[in-house]
């Protein structure tokens, strides 16, 4: 009966995909949704590819997934990947079924599948990955993800012990995931240890073993850092792959792994992306990639343009960066990154709210109060335009943080931010956007390019 249900679901899903293709629409979610609606354990009936890699974690899933997919394809592997589609259960099912025969046999050698943390219980029990890489477990949307303890619980309880884990050793919450899985590879960054404790809230303060306070050797941001419990000896795990040096000037970083130090080209100098790159190197090395294969790949690798892009507007450089609304850590990291970027008289155009995907909402402000606005105090950031309905909340947050209110500009109309950017004054303009705001951000950037005398 179950098998019949599967074939029925597969037929309906494949037909829907065909229909969507004829209509010129994306088939990255709906066919999968149809399949799992008609057959709850649909994913379990599909045959696993030879190598099934799942990528999860709060921030960096798409970047890691793209790095892995790019490296594998460059080296001759056929790869199924859902980075340009959905990462919830329907999206995972869609990616797998569209790359399977009618009987469920996978066509490609490898699948690199990005899995939303909340979907863990709907994916892994049906198709256990051979490898699971987790970048970090951080504060995220309170509505979907609640808190890190809940997400850890979901991931841990969904994984069989056969799964080989690649985990961020510098995220002590992530590093403790799924203790039943014994094959564990840890990565992290030892370079550029911060000397000052950050002010953001931490999601782990007490030792998970004995309940006493954890001592921090250092903390980079939120709870990312190195810890030890003086009471029972519990500590951050040793790293198997460790970034030992970052040379921003020459765009290089060095990784110590398997007893050897190797240097690669930086794909992006934001510390979060260095974590992502190190995680990808760890997993690819475990898969058998050689030094040369990795070096060659990273020499060409880059962050996809949906996350990070640059344009020229006259003399001004316009940088588009995904900031991820509702996700306070991702936004805080981007704010911090911009503050540390070279250049004076920076202007920020923030289009970070849910207006474009949730028109009839009045977005919760809670996450804004978990965001770190202190980077906006930087004197080199001279103007911040908050575009969208939440502009007054951003301004209140800035004022509470002590940001100079003279540089804050509210723009309740989300689509009018570009009109307020003075390209004569600002040569470094940053456009920050939400997950679903890429089209708006690009439209705003094009207006800026036009304003600068260029062709949009």
């Amino acid at each position: 009966m179950g098998k019949l249900k599967f074939y029925f679901a597969m037929t309906a899903a494949k037909l829907s995909a065909l229909g969507l293709k004829i209509l010129g629409r994306n088939a990255t979610y709906l066919p999968g949704l149809i399949a799992v609606t008609l057959c709850k354990d649909f994913i379990g009936y599909l045959k696993k590819p030879e190598i099934f890699i799942a990528v999860t974690g709060t921030n960096g899933k798409t970047t890691v997934s793209n790095l892995l997919t790019g490296a594998l394809r460059k080296n001759g592997y056929t790869v199924t990947n859902n980075s340009f589609g959905s990462n919830v259960q329907g999206g995972v099912a869609a990616a797998l079924l569209l790359n399977s025969t009618f009987t469920g046999k996978h066509k490609n050698k490898v699948a690199v599948i990005e899995v939303d943390e909340r979907s863990s219980l709907k994916v892994y029990p049906y198709m256990a990955p051979d490898w699971l890489i987790v970048n970090n477990i951080m504060r995220d949307s309170m509505k979907r993800n609640a808190h890190t303890e809940f997400i850890s619980y979901i991931i841990t309880s969904s994984l069989p012990e056969s799964v080989k884990l690649v985990l961020n050793a510098d995220d002590i919450i992530c590093a403790q995931l799924a203790p039943q899985c014994k094959d564990r590879t840890y990565f992290g960054i030892d370079a550029e240890k911060p000397t000052v404790l950050p002010t953001q809230a931490r999601d782990i303060v007490y030792c998970p073993k004995c309940g006493q306070k954890l001592d921090a050797e250092y903390i980079r941001y939120n709870h990312i850092g190195r810890y030890r419990c003086q009471s029972c000896g519990f500590a951050s795990p040793d790293r198997d792959f460790c970034v030992t040096a970052i040379d921003r000037e020459n765009e290089r970083f060095t990784v110590l792994g398997d007893g050897k130090e190797k240097t690669y080209k930086l794909i992006n100098d934001n510390i979060t992306n260095i974590f992502n790159a190190c995680g990808a190197i760890a997993l690819l090395t475990r898969l058998g990639f050689t030094d040369q294969q990795l070096t060659d790949y990273f020499a060409q690798g880059e962050i996809v343009k949906t996350r990070f892009d640059k344009m020229q507007a006259g003399d001004a450089e316009v940088t588009l960066i995904l900031a991820k609304g509702q996700n306070p850590v991702a936004c805080s990291r981007v704010y911090n990154y911009i503050a540390t970027c070279p250049g004076d008289d920076k202007c920020l155009l923030l289009i970070v709210d849910d207006q474009e995907d949730n028109v009839n909402n009045s977005e919760s402000t809670c996450w804004l109060y978990d965001c770190d606005y202190t980077p906006f105090k930087d004197e080199k950031i001279t103007e911040i335009i908050f575009a969208g309905k939440r502009c007054y909340d951003h301004i209140l947050r800035c004022k509470m943080t002590g940001v100079d209110t003279n540089k804050l500009v509210p723009c309740p109309d989300q689509l009018q931010g570009h009109t307020l950017v003075d390209l004569n004054k600002h040569k470094n303009v940053y456009v920050l956007y939400d997950n679903y705001g890429l089209d708006i951000a690009r439209a705003e950037a094009r207006e800026l390019v036009k304003k600068g005398g260029g062709k949009a």
């Binding site: 009045s362 809670c366 804004l368 509470m400």
Partner: protein, 235 residues
């Protein structure tokens, strides 16, 4: 004025910790005491004017309850004496009679200072918005919770809900007030989001102060009221 913040190192989810920051800006001369889980609370031997406690994880909630349990009588005395206590999100659940954690199959008695019970289901996250009246003040806020509250708060609810829901989706009365103990499921920046309520709370402590960044806070507050009252806005 003395403000004790209970367990800010762990009771800080969803932006709740910024209520303390807002009070610090509002009351630059007040003394703030941050009490962690391993330290004897200040209130055990002293009488603070205001006690704050914010949202936490479920594991932390059980630890918080056990940490506070030895001080139940003292807390009762403080409540009877009129000390102002603001518990946001699921912090207020610690003061209630009983919590059933249905997913983990754990039953925990709360401190029993508020006559309500809680049912917490990790696979049922409830989100929403609330607009309503607290006395003459329009209150706006957000909720996001695993726990639903049950019991009779008809005589001591905090907010009479205009849009949104109260103790649970069948209720239009939000939160519970016992003397000056305020247990509200509204979470996050409840004070900066409601500057008039912030001033009211301080008046209960005998302090007449203007809420910090009042102009900006009022602009954001009025915009939110407008949006929450817009029939097109989904709750």
């Amino acid at each position: 004025m003395t403000v004790e913040v209970l367990f800010p190192e762990v009771c800080n989810l969803f932006g709740d910790s910024k209520n303390e920051e807002y009070l610090r800006l509002t009351l630059p001369d007040a003394e703030f005491i941050d009490t962690d889980l391993l330290t004897r609370p200040y209130f055990a031997d002293n009488t603070p004017d205001l006690i704050l406690m914010g949202s936490m994880t479920e594991n932390t909630q059980r630890r918080v309850i056990e940490t506070l349990r030895p001080y139940t009588e003292r807390l009762q005395a403080l409540i009877d004496g009129g000390t102002v206590i603001l518990a946001t999100g699921n912090a207020g659940e610690a003061f209630m009679k009983h919590i059933s954690y249905v997913t983990e199959e754990i039953e925990t008695d709360g401190l029993g200072l508020v006559d309500l019970t809680v049912k917490t289901d990790l696979f049922r996250r409830m989100n929403g918005k609330v607009i309503g009246k607290f006395e003459d003040i329009v209150m706006v806020g957000f909720r996001s919770q695993f726990g639903l509250w049950y019991g009779d708060n008809s005589k001591n609810a905090i907010v009479k809900v205009e849009r949104g829901w109260g103790l649970n989706p069948d209720s239009k009365l939000e939160g519970a007030r016992v003397n000056n103990l305020f247990c509200t499921a509204l979470l996050g920046p409840i004070l900066p989001d409601n500057p008039l309520f912030c001033e009211y709370l301080l008046s209960l402590c005998g302090v007449k102060a203007e809420a910090a960044c009042k102009k900006e806070a009022m602009t954001a507050y009025e915009q939110r009221i407008k949006e929450f009252r817009d029939p097109k806005t989904e709750f």
